[in-house]
């Protein structure tokens, strides 16, 4: 396990390091002044000279990179070119807001996708199976922005059940401290926390459902296919021959092994969700990192673009690491510990 852990950590760090190099080089790829792109301070500004010195404007590339890394680690991420607000503050808030719906959506996707997938596999080739699979194929083919609009029309405009923008009704006066609205309500000294939680949850329903739809359908399909495969394995036949009930066979023996295969795909699904978050957040005005990035691209706010990309990519890498470590811990076969091999 230690060997596996070290191995994965090394490659994670290597990928992360490459990411910072790439992010550093972005400053040259973006049009305009390099120091301005890094710091968000324009050349006409008074503090430009000190920023220039601080970021090693006269030094060679390597030194500049060292300074860049230093600033990165110290959370000195410069200022937004548009709002002149510190980038790190907004980055951490928007990240938390995204993490909130992303995790809830992932949970929802797992809770919906896995059982339905297993159900379809148990009833392989039956009517239930065919219905579920056709819904799944439709479900992951529907463009996420179209689905969002259809749901808005149905739930918000026709039925008037749900609000459509933001995290919470602003009249609850919840200060965005952490960025995650559920945390912020807990941190606030509001006298109406229960009502605030209700309102915040109502705001979450649509974005979470839209964000969860694609991964839920993908998970459903994967779960079905892997479970079907597992069910055909000799060892399942063996347990069945021992007379275990079909339910017990599935729950105890088939599903855990099917999940092993699914875990491998979870990084891919997580990445897809992160990409979809950009679209979902901008439709529902969710103050997350995706909508932040999008606005920055439209306004050409380079320090913000850089920060948002850095965080988004680092998050995928980190999620990948977590999923792999969990898989390695839970399913030793993954570790490929070939003692004595080179």
């Amino acid at each position: 396990m230690t060997r596996f852990l070290l191995h994965r950590l090394i490659y994670f760090t290597l990928a992360l390091w490459l990411l910072t190099v790439f992010s550093f080089l972005l400053n040259w790829l973006f049009p305009g002044d390099v120091i301005t792109n890094m710091s968000g301070i324009r050349a006409i500004s008074d503090s430009y000279a000190s920023e220039f010195a601080l970021r090693g404007g006269d030094d060679n590339l390597v030194m500049q990179y060292v300074y860049y890394l230093q600033n990165l680690i110290n959370f000195d991420w410069g200022y937004s070119l548009v709002s002149q607000q510190p980038v790190w503050l907004e980055a951490s808030r928007t990240f938390m807001a995204t993490a909130e719906i992303l995790l809830l959506a992932l949970l929802l996707a797992l809770v919906v996708g896995l059982p339905l997938g297993a159900l379809a596999a148990m009833r392989y080739h039956s009517g239930v199976d065919k219905t579920i699979v056709s819904i799944a194929v439709g479900g992951y083919s529907i463009p996420v922005f179209w689905l969002a609009q259809l749901l808005i029309l149905l739930f918000a405009v026709k039925l008037r059940w749900l609000p459509i923008t933001g995290q919470i009704d602003p009249l609850f006066l919840i200060e965005p401290q952490s960025g995650s609205v559920l945390l912020d309500i807990a941190l606030s000294d509001s006298a109406h926390k229960a009502a605030a939680y209700r309102d915040a949850l109502a705001h979450m329903v649509l974005p979470v459902i839209v964000l969860a739809s694609l991964p839920a359908m993908l998970l459903l399909r994967m779960m079905r296919n892997t479970t079907v495969e597992v069910m055909q394995q000799p060892y399942i036949k063996a347990v069945r021959a021992r007379g275990l009930s079909p339910l017990r066979v599935a729950v105890k023996h088939a599903i855990p092994n099917a999940i092993q295969g699914i875990l491998q795909q979870l990084t891919f699904i997580f990445g897809l969700m992160l990409a979809n978050a950009v679209i979902v957040e901008s439709i529902f005005n969710w103050p997350g990192i995706g909508s932040w990035l999008l606005k920055a691209i439209i306004d050409r706010d380079y320090p913000v673009i850089q920060a948002a990309l850095l965080i988004l990519v680092a998050t995928t890498l980190f999620a990948n690491l977590l999923f792999e470590l969990y898989r390695g811990w839970r399913f030793p076969i993954v570790r490929e510990e070939r003692y004595g091999a080179t």
């Binding site: 809770v111 405009v157 008037r160 602003p170 005005n285 439209i298 306004d299």
Partner: protein, 539 residues
Amino acid sequence: MINLRMTLPLVLGLFSIACSNEQQLPEPLRKGLVYCSEGNPEGFNPQRITSGTTVDATAAQLYDRLIDYDAETQQFVPALAEQWQALDNGTRYRFQLRDGVAFHSTAYFTPSRPFNADDVIFSFNRWLDPTSLYHNVGGGNYPFFTATGLDKLIKRVVKVDTMTIDIILNNADSSFLANLATDFAVILSAEYAGQLAVDGTPERIDHQPIGTGPYRFAAYRKDYFIRYNRNPDYWREGPQIEHLVYSITPNANKRMLKLVTGECDVIPYPLVSKLQSLNQAQIEVKSEVSPNVAFWAFNTQKKPFDDPTVRQALSHAINRRAIIDAIYYGSAERADSILPPTSWAYSANGSDVDYDPEKARQLLRQAGVRDGFRMTIWAMPVQRVYNPNARRMAELMQSDLAQVGIDARIVSYEWNSFRRRLSRGEHDTALIGWYADNADPDNFFRPLLSCAAVAIGSNRANWCHPGFDQILLEAIATTDTETRRQLYRSAQDLLNQQVPLLPIAHSMRYQAQQDFVTGVELPPYGGISFRRAGKELKP
């Protein structure tokens, strides 16, 4: 399968949470009001800006002026000045200030004294006196005062005693009081400015504002919200609500949806035709004749738009009739002058440009503009009272221009970046507009088309014509209405001939709100006011 059984109640639970929300409004929602504004404010000091979005967000809410203009009686009424008189043949005005007016007391500032003459002098000197400490804070650009010439008109402001000031003018001016009553001539706190100067953070004066208005600043998050709290010490009748929130929603369609779902209490510039088709009983639409104009400005400092023939040609190429139908759904009239017909200085003239692509092509050929010429149309990203959808308007024009062999590209940025880039003159042509700050016709000319306006970047055509400036100066130097009408007529004729911009439409001003909202006023001049806002909810 076990999980499935657990999911269903969870999903249903979420929906029931959502549903129960409607049955009874929690207390914070009863005591506050959400206004879904169309964009970010540039700052919180109306002295420094001209954008209507910023005026709506700040002027009437955070601040007071010396005098106000009552649109109903068409008279100036006392505000922070209890009374005033003109002295020395109208070259000196004496203002008697109101006693016992308190500045906002907030988390970042606690006033130690009430409002007095020092505050007035500080506020005026901020834009008037280039040597004053605060003049250059934030760039030293005061577009409204430069454009209206108020900074040249006022010689100085003198303190007579603690509660009396004199404003001394270089010459008598018919529009002086009207300009003082606009949203821009607000009063800031001298004490707060002094404290910030000691702290070494003078720029905060425009971002953490202190005024005497009906609301106090609480918080602002770009792209999301501005939050104000009621000012409990307001000197006249204040609002009934405790909190006022501007929920920033640039997309017009989303704003309307939010009104329907009840997330907004009031929205500006609703898409009226669509609101009617939704048939929502609890939504009220208010309308008001508004002095405004949408226009297409040509950047006359760029080739080939420096040539009047090219500008005329382009004007002939645009089918404005179709624009009125498709963009305004008939709630506007076609503009044949920059002045709206409701202005007393308006004069119908026969020299209006008509839609004539053949003539446009011929003029273009004459000016040496070749087929396939490429240009940009800058279209506002937000809805304004004068233009409900500039980007769509640009698309219509794009196809009109294609007819005469011009390849137009549409450019758009976030509202504040858009204005900043326009001021720098990065555009070829721009779709934008103007609405009047006061009833004087001068307000349509000098802020938009004078040489002074070029310098401060509010002249979207970058058009500086000395003869035109001369006419405007003559027009404000006299108080005789008939002479002024003549002068403004010749000004309009000159514009029709030179076409630095093509007037497109004069639009009605609309606002939609929930029927329980009361007291939200739509003054014909200037921004929205929530001074008397309240909610009449059924118990």
